[in-house]
Symmetry: C2
Amino acid sequence: MKEPLTSFNPHLSVDCVVFGFDGNSLKVLLVEKVADNHAKHIPRKHKLPGDLIIRMEDLYGAAERVLLELTGLSNIFLKQFSVFGTPDRISDPDDIRWLEDTSGVTISRVVTTAYYSLIKIGKSKVKNVVKNNASWHDVANLPDLAFDHEEIIKEGIKSLQMAIRHEPICFELLPRKFTLRETQILYEAILGHELDNRNFRKKLLKAAYIEPLDEKQNGVAHKPARFYKFNKKKYELNRTDILNYNF
Amino acid sequence: MKEPLTSFNPHLSVDCVVFGFDGNSLKVLLVEKVADNHAKHIPRKHKLPGDLIIRMEDLYGAAERVLLELTGLSNIFLKQFSVFGTPDRISDPDDIRWLEDTSGVTISRVVTTAYYSLIKIGKSKVKNVVKNNASWHDVANLPDLAFDHEEIIKEGIKSLQMAIRHEPICFELLPRKFTLRETQILYEAILGHELDNRNFRKKLLKAAYIEPLDEKQNGVAHKPARFYKFNKKKYELNRTDILNYNF
């Protein structure tokens, strides 16, 4: 029933879906599929930062290396969310040729482990993401993507939608001082639909670990809104109370 | 910087953490690491149902095949929860020898994708899980396990703990008609700690899709408790209301 296993030589890769928020929309960091000199025929499509893993590297280590090499980012939150291993996930002849040209190996099948990251786009280190033509793209308006990377991004968004329901990870995307309005815009961007204003604010204000600051917005056209901050220590202390069961 | 990729030949496997509930405790289905005839020296340790994947098989398909081949189970809920790929995850010489004896290939490194399943132990098809000496073990009292399977089970429990907070998947483990007490025992078994009786029942009863039946327990020593059932249709209809954000 089984084919000889020795003939089955899959390659393993990691891909990183780096989500960022600039105050308006949810964005994802893409790099360009740059062709080698001898492979000029290949169209420059966008792709996720990713690579085949090397011999003694664990998956998380590979994801960290890939981000540093391809985008210059380091020390950021990384969460494994899924592995993609359908036999035909890499089927576009252009994609296969590009992979073989850049890796130097014959590709029969690649199984990839996907991670997502959450970062604040405003931070200076993130603004300097220029390596390999890395650039931010609205998740609602993605360019043509190589491989199955559109599917990977969609699955990443689904994981993020699940995660924001029971973990305070949205604060990884918000600036240190944020307004209630910014938080709602972020939630709506992740969920892909609007939320009821009043209910949302009421819920946020009920959380003891979201603390008002004695500070308001500056130089805005509308009435300046109060800033809040996330108190991680308080969150950790009350964790068992917070994690409720949604029957 | 990279070693030649051609020299890196990882094997891919799937492992299934099948959780079951018998009304008292959370259990996991283990098979025995049966030695080949020519490998009698290998101790019979327990392991998760799992196997290397074959050439044109996707990961989900491999998990389904493994369960059918090793336990006789089919058509059950399967959820991918993590991939384990540390280079040294298979390091015990006995484990390596067993793998090489049974697979016929030289093993340098195996990366495994883990799935969990949830099943009702009471069901007849599940009682007949006898293939390959498959047997149920309390998660709180696991035998000596091969490879890193203890870690995989622990990660599986963590995923399950997360999942029961925002999805009604506990009903996959409960009989079709269940009491509130049974539900609480199940939650306590998954979470590993006691829950407040009154709060738990209050929350359960608030959920419109948990419906009381005109039927009570029979032949029990204590006051017979009412049966309830999970109304999946009602749940799906109210999904957007149910999925709240826990600030």
